[in-house]
């Protein structure tokens, strides 16, 4: 299904189409919710004066151990990136997620939210494993021998993969614009990322060493029906895209700062004057989803942003859509619902999403990276994901 990105785009576009603003409930932050001390594991904390919400991902800490605190990174120098990419540890950049700005009411469901977040993450991982064989998400760590091989190539100088990777990384951390195209800088940047990935995938798929590595992955690795191209693509996401991600996102945020600010302002405007979430202040039909479902949708959007591989992001976005439909199906009407019902419901979820800016960038990322004419194999895969 090659046109999923079009649907994804309404995540960003739908903010423009509401006829009037929603009603916002009076602030209900309780004094006990305010927290100024250091973050603690397995909790959600509000720092109201500084308008900061901190969430500690207990699952991450349990899985990976240790304690670290990394804010959404600023521009990262190449040296740091290289160390990051070569470190034999999880490449996911966030140990603590920070969200700034006005808070939705969902923050009060801290305990259940974390629990559902853990549960959902596990479920999604299982789903993905089931759907994609041994395709691994980047959160699983660069354990695959193919990933190690590509990482080594990317780190080294004097080979094609290393040169291409290091060239784009340098560009991400400088103000230089890419060659040839005079278009929008953010689009241009994402197109360069796509070209890098497709180019390297094409190059590596033909590389005898990569073929040898792929063929010798050990008896435990199922190889039947496993496509070399898909394996290289997955490994590239872990070995090349993941190390570039912090700098790429920092750059995108910078390039899109004005748009994101306007988006946030529009979102706040739509919240202001709205009734409590689910009260349908903008004329939405039917009841809104239960708070737990809404929390799950927002948690999925956060996972979507944390994910690196486009396929993973698509799977999570579709999971969001499934949840939106689940929220609509609370009544007795069990007929499949069309866009008339779906779009207003999704719009409302976005109005209350604390991740709307990140979702906007995620959508833009997918729109640019998932062109099936360029990203070979992606179109067929999207079709499978969407129709499954």
């Amino acid at each position: 299904m090659p046109d999923l990105p079009h649907l994804l785009a309404f995540l960003s576009a739908s903010r423009d189409v509401l006829p009037r603003t929603l009603l916002l409930p009076p602030p209900t932050l309780r004094p006990e919710d305010q927290h100024t001390g250091p973050p603690q594991t397995g909790s959600v904390h509000l720092n109201v004066p500084e308008r900061v919400l901190s969430m500690v991902n207990k699952l991450y800490l349990e899985t990976h151990g240790g304690w670290g605190k990394e804010q959404i990174p600023p521009e990262t120098p190449p040296e740091t990136e290289e160390r990051h990419s070569s470190a034999p540890r999880n490449p996911a950049p966030h140990r603590v997620s920070w969200m700034e700005g006005p808070l939705s009411l969902e923050v009060h469901h801290s305990g259940p939210d974390l629990a559902s977040l853990v549960e959902e993450k596990e479920k999604e991982d299982k789903d993905e494993d089931g759907n994609k064989g041994d395709y691994k998400d980047e959160e699983n760590g660069p354990e695959d021998v193919l990933t190690h091989h590509i990482q080594a190539l990317a780190r080294a100088r004097g080979n094609y993969v290393g040169r291409q990777f290091q060239s784009l990384r340098a560009r991400l951390t400088s103000n230089a614009r890419g060659p040839h195209r005079p278009g929008d800088p953010a689009t241009e940047l994402l197109q360069d990322v796509r070209h890098l990935l497709t180019d390297l995938q094409d190059h590596l798929s033909k590389d005898p060493d990569v073929r040898a590595v792929f063929g010798s992955r050990g008896p435990g690795v199922p190889q039947k029906d496993y496509d070399l191209g898909a394996a290289v693509e997955a490994a590239l996401c872990r070995a090349v895209l993941a190390p570039l991600k912090p700098a790429l996102w920092a750059r995108l945020r910078k390039l899109r700062a004005q748009e994101l600010r306007r988006l946030r302002q529009r979102q706040i405007a739509l919240r202001v004057g709205a009734g409590p979430p689910g009260c349908q202040g903008a004329g939405f039909e039917g009841p809104g989803p239960a708070p737990a479902l809404r929390s799950r949708i927002h948690a999925r959007l956060e996972h979507l942003h944390a994910a690196c591989a486009p396929r993973r992001k698509v799977a999570l976005l579709l999971a969001v859509c499934t949840d939106v439909y689940a929220g609509l199906a609370q009544g007795e009407n069990q007929e499949p619902l069309g866009a008339d019902a779906f779009l207003p419901a999704l719009t409302e979820e976005l109005i209350w999403s604390p991740h709307i800016g990140e979702t906007q960038l995620d959508v833009e990322f997918l729109m640019e990276l998932l062109d099936p004419d360029e990203l070979r194999g992606e179109g067929g895969h999207q079709k499978d994901v969407t129709t499954s």
Partner: protein
Amino acid sequence: MAAAGSGGGAAAAGRAYSFKVVLLGEGCVGKTSLVLRYCENKFNDKHITTLQASFLTKKLNIGGKRVNLAIWDTAGQERFHALGPIYYRDSNGAILVYDITDEDSFQKVKNWVKELRKMLGNEICLCIVGNKIDLEKERHVSIQEAESYAESVGAKHYHTSAKQNKGIEELFLDLCKRMIETAQVDERAKGNGSSQPGSARRGVQIIDDEPQAQSGGGGCCSSG
């Protein structure tokens, strides 16, 4: 795998056309009902995707040519009009639906036609559909006016009733045949796969597909 620009014989050589069709029209004219009726087994999981009736797929075999149809439903509410371009971009076909008992909904169709022709030119196959012909007694849109309008803008006109399942199969089958013709013309124009990557329209891809049994009867439509 995405081999847009392959020769016209590609479909016969074990591959299938992949077409995107968008449903446009005012709210409550029956867009969702039409597509659900077309995919017929409303509660058959094979048709109901993650996106439920917002996005449905159907596989067809038309004269030996296999077609994967992706049908995008759109929200008819006016406030979602701005999303139109997101949906119709790269569509191979558009089904513009109006309610024969609602003159305003026919005017909306005219607006969509203008927009589509302006944005996409003649690349897209247009179908104008007067739905709810089971309510013939309440008709407020003249058949003659609708059909002559459709002809004047290069579209084909159809009369349907989602409620009574009339005219819908014909509508989609006809549209598919037209889209195949358009795709074949495109393919011939591009030559034998000599086009540059990225220059082909995204919507007209020839994709690998698993073997699919020919349908019985006239070899027309097999869903699933």
